[in-house]
């Protein structure tokens, strides 16, 4: 420990958001630094790498206006930490934790390291309680469980944000409890920002928001989700709240990661994304969960846009390997004017098995879900066949299944702005099965 701040004027290179400083005494990995530009502007940064001659700093903010001669760098001898307090509720911050809602900064109760520490696997409580989102395609077939991380895979132009807004407005815990929402917006356009801001304002003060807009510094996109998750962990495990963390859009996060990685001249992996992207994403997603013998929970709903609608693109692919399932939006459903345009076939909720059924939702939940799946999958198969041989070339029973699949999309998946509780959802499913003479085993 140096226990002192050190100030240097020995920058030897500036490369995009990265700054190299020479002859630094005992810098630490992850140490926070402040840069003072010649025009008086101050910027924050973090130490990424140290070798015998140089220290590599990643700067949060625009590096325009920095120079080699006059810019000074102060090393603070502490790792980056976030101010924590329950007074952050109802507030809006930027990607560097500065308030942008006009009110003054709150007084922190404590500070927490933003990189977080992994939860000891033996301390984890297995998630078992369903969150009712009010959306049939999710509640009925791919239930969201408290403590789960369930991403929404969207395509450019699909109404992912309307879906998210609807979940925010309608989600209820079992026993009609309410959520606190931590909202992290990464690289959003002003249009999207405006939409989310209005949605949040309707939630009175049950939210904390971190906004990084498309025009704001890229490096802040790497920091904002960590700030959000650190706040979420504090609210959940120190203040016993149930926290829903919404991160939108993870595609922008991964692009920021790629941008920094190339600036560091690292070897690129698939599609130019760095080889450590899996571990990096895991360090965010894995912070969702519950702890044994403690109240409170962190549930994570990341939203990402699949580039070129391709689910095998590295971003959705790696995400799917870490998260516990996925909700997939599809262009085809959108074209049929269904809302939400969820394609239930590639959707999955890995934690659903233990969160539904008797004592949780309803005894017949699992059977209804399985049968709907089975018939809908068959119906989708038959559609391909129909395209070749025509409807008349199908067996009579196959024609019925085909009709059932259409009906399923129109009456079960499609629901507009209506909120359906789990009983309504299951009744609709049951009715649909009944109309075609399918009985529960």
């Amino acid at each position: 420990m140096r226990l002192a701040e050190h100030c240097y004027r020995s920058i030897c290179a500036i490369r995009g958001p990265l700054v190299f400083v020479e002859r630094v005494f005992e810098a630490r990995i992850g140490e926070t630094v402040t840069l003072l530009a010649p025009d008086g502007q101050t910027l924050e940064g973090e130490v990424l790498k140290i070798d015998t001659e140089q220290v590599l700093i990643q700067v949060f903010g625009e590096t325009y206006g920095l120079d080699l001669e006059q810019t000074s760098v102060t090393f603070h001898d502490i790792v980056k930490r976030a101010p924590l307090s329950r007074h952050c509720l109802g507030r809006i911050f930027n990607g560097s934790f500065r308030p942008i809602d006009g009110a003054p900064m709150f007084i922190p109760e404590r500070w927490g390291a933003i990189s977080g520490a992994p939860i000891n696997p033996v301390s984890r409580e297995y998630p078992r309680e369903m969150i009712e989102t009010g959306i049939s395609a999710i509640d009925g077939l791919n239930s969201l469980i408290k403590g789960q991380k369930l991403p929404i895979f969207s395509c450019a132009g699909l109404p992912a944000q309307e879906l998210v807004a609807q979940i925010l407005a309608q989600a209820r815990l079992p026993g009609a409890g309410e959520f606190v929402v931590v909202f992290v917006a990464l690289g959003l356009t002003y249009h999207e920002y405006d939409f989310y801001r209005r949605t949040l304002e309707e939630m009175s003060s049950r939210f904390v928001a971190f906004f990084n807009l498309a025009g704001e510094p890229v490096v802040e996109r790497l920091q904002a989700p960590r700030l959000g998750l650190t706040v979420a962990e504090d609210l959940a495990f120190n203040h016993q709240m149930d926290v829903l963390v919404l991160v939108s859009d993870m595609t922008n996060y991964c692009d920021a990661l790629r941008e920094i990685s190339t600036a560091r001249e690292e070897l690129p992996g698939r599609r130019g994304y760095p080889g450590y992207m899996y571990s990096d994403l895991a360090s965010l997603y894995e912070r969702a969960g519950r702890l044994r013998d403690r109240k409170g929970s962190v549930t994570l709903l990341p939203v990402l846009t699949m580039p070129e609608d391709d689910i095998t693109h590295p971003i959705p692919d790696l995400t799917g390997y870490i998260t516990e399932g996925q909700i997939v939006l599809s262009r085809e459903m959108q074209q049929k004017e269904l809302f939400p345009p969820i394609d239930v076939l590639p959707c999955l909720s890995r934690l659903m098995q233990h969160g539904i059924g008797e004592g949780q939702t309803r005894a017949d939940h699992r059977q209804i879900a399985n049968l709907l799946y089975q018939y809908y999958a068959k119906g989708r198969d038959l559609r391909k066949l129909e395209a070749v041989v025509g409807k008349d070339g199908l067996l009579e029973e196959d024609q019925k299944i085909l009709e059932m699949a259409d009906n399923f999309e129109r009456s079960f998946v499609h629901q507009g702005n209506e909120r359906r509780d789990i009983n309504q959802t299951l009744d609709i499913g049951l009715k649909l099965l009944g109309e075609y003479g399918v009985k529960l085993p």
Partner: protein
């Protein structure tokens, strides 16, 4: 050997200690983070640190140990839950709370726990290396302790024993404890390997009947996300007919591991004992340090070999090997090595083969047969099986269970694709099953395969002309194939059907095929297909 840290980049740290060897363990910084030497150069030594390096500074002290990364082997491993460096997670939780903070040196085995040692040698006896000194009862297993050095016994404990106190003193002052340290990167056994003769019953119909594996063999299970790799692995861990199961959660989800731990605590194996009593769990979730993820499979396989060498049947399940390979890639790229295919280091396949070759049947010093089998899950990016990890595994493994995204989407579990999967042991296992279960085994197997194959070619026809266009005989076949898929190959891991004994498996398939044969006959005699199917449906319902 002491020195200081000279440069840091993520988990790769250079120190100025000289005289170390490759893979020696090094302690870094005031927090004594542990690491392993990966590169040696004249004036600097590169260390891969197994822990988070946040807050580490150049100039902090470093200490080299001149010993490689080892694990502790002794009684008390069964039922244990360890991280990739064999630190017991429950003990870490007591030390540092619910989050893994700076980790101190915690002993892997509880040295205070009392065991009962039944000595089989007496003072005055001369022993050679590998001779049995006596046994400890570890749960339901007899846990023999072998001499690790030769000599004449001066003192030997007979009765209660704590691991912290010595077990044997030899004439001349050498001592032996009831536990030993073993370097994880060295295979334990130097004796004879034997060929695999016995099938490993997994309780999964699709595997046991169509693609059986043997005790001592290696199976690879590749599948895209959501195809049920983890559920399949966990299901096999619960029911496989082996003595010891080592389960490695390598770079996987924390919630999944929590589910596994709570479920294994409640469930019982086929002999009615708590499942955890026969299981060792190694967990390195995806957000725990990358280097420890790389070492986790070696930690696990070393513990597995330890029990195999006592003559037990051990099954190692790894979920997933891709995460291990990715850790290897991350480390390799941070060392600035020249990358091979898809950025993986060029030594990926040789290192993988070396690991997989640690499986097998061995004849122990006492003349017993012990086996180490492996089932390795692979998560190919984008479900593309041509990627290097799947391909390297295929070259070394004997059975291949390909999990199919299309099957998984239609909720067919286990989603093992029957036309692409294979097992090199099918004929050897069939010989055993013919003798032990039912002489018709091979015949039924062939019939079942033929039905599935014919269905596939008929499907192409159906896609053009529709079901209406098929002849009755073919429609009967399609109907039967669907029954084989739905009632035989599908198996719900969350119901009573999760385990199927070879006998039950055989009865089920025999039922379906017998019905088919009868229906074929009735069809030939001129009965209408609809009537036959209705009757068959009633019989099945």
């Amino acid at each position: 050997m002491k020195g200081v840290v000279t440069s840091i980049s993520g988990a790769t740290v250079s120190v100025d200690i000289r005289g170390l060897q490759l893979y020696d363990r090094v302690y870094i910084g005031h927090a004594r983070l542990s690491g392993e030497v990966v590169h040696l150069e004249k004036d600097s030594t590169t260390v891969q640190v197994f822990e988070d390096t946040h807050g580490l500074s150049v100039g902090e002290p470093a200490e080299g140990t001149r010993a490689p990364l080892t694990v502790m082997l002794g009684p008390g491993l069964l039922g244990g839950i360890f991280d990739g460096l064999q630190r017991p997670l429950p003990a870490l939780q007591r030390r540092s709370g619910d989050f893994i903070q700076e980790t101190h040196d915690v002993s892997s085995l509880d040295l205070q726990q009392q065991w009962h040692f039944a000595a089989e040698k007496q003072p005055g006896d001369s022993v050679a290396i590998g001779d049995r000194l006596g046994c400890i009862s570890e749960g339901h297993l007899r846990h023999p302790i072998y001499a690790t050095q030769a000599g004449e016994i001066e003192q030997i404990v007979d009765g209660p024993l704590r691991l912290e106190s010595k077990l044997v003193t030899f004439r001349g002052g050498q001592q032996q404890y009831a536990w030993e340290n073993w370097s994880v990167r060295h295979p334990r056994f130097g004796g004879h390997k034997r060929s695999a003769e016995q099938p490993l019953i997994t309780g999964q119909r699709c595997i046991d009947f169509l693609f059986p594996m043997m005790k001592g063999s290696v199976a690879v299970v590749p599948g895209g996300f959501g195809t049920g790799k983890t559920v399949l692995e966990q299901s096999i861990a619960k029911f496989a007919d082996v003595d010891v199961v080592v389960y490695v959660g390598c770079g996987e989800r924390g919630n999944e591991m929590a589910g596994l731990l709570s479920e294994f605590g409640e469930l019982q194996d086929t002999a009615g004992r708590p499942l955890l009593e026969r299981t060792i769990v190694v967990v390195n979730t995806s957000n725990m340090p990358v280097a420890a993820r790389e070492s986790s499979i070696f930690t696990a396989v070393t513990m597995a070999e330890y029990y195999r060498d006592m003559g037990y049947d051990v099954l190692l399940l790894a979920d997933s090997l891709s995460r291990w390979a990715e850790a290897l890639r991350e480390i390799s790229s941070s060392l600035e090595e020249i990358p091979g295919e898809e950025g993986y280091p060029t030594y990926l396949s040789s290192r993988l083969a070396k690991f997989i070759e640690r499986a097998g049947v061995v004849e122990t010093a006492e003349g017993k047969l012990g086996s180490l089998s492996m089932i390795l899950a692979v998560s190919p990016p984008g479900a593309d099986f041509s990627e290097p990890v799947t391909q390297s595994c295929l070259r070394a493994a004997g059975a291949f269970y390909m999990l199919d995204t299309v099957l998984a989407h239609s909720r067919h579990f286990p989603a093992i694709n029957w036309s692409q999967s294979y097992s090199l042991f099918a004929s050897r296992a069939a010989k055993y099953f013919r003798q032990q279960v039912e002489p018709r085994w091979t015949e039924l197997q062939t019939a079942c395969r033929a039905i599935l194959q014919q269905e596939e070619s008929l499907r192409e026809v159906v896609e053009v002309v529709g079901m209406e266009g098929l002849q009755d005989r073919d429609r009967l076949l399609m109907f039967t194939a669907e029954r084989v898929r739905r009632d035989f190959l599908c198996q719900n891991s969350f119901s009573d059907d999760a385990f199927s004994s070879p006998q039950q498996t055989l009865e089920r398939i025999a039922g379906i095929i017998n019905n088919y044969r009868q229906a074929e006959k009735r069809l030939a005699e001129g009965e209408a297909l609809a009537d036959i199917l209705r009757g068959d449906g009633d019989a099945a319902g």
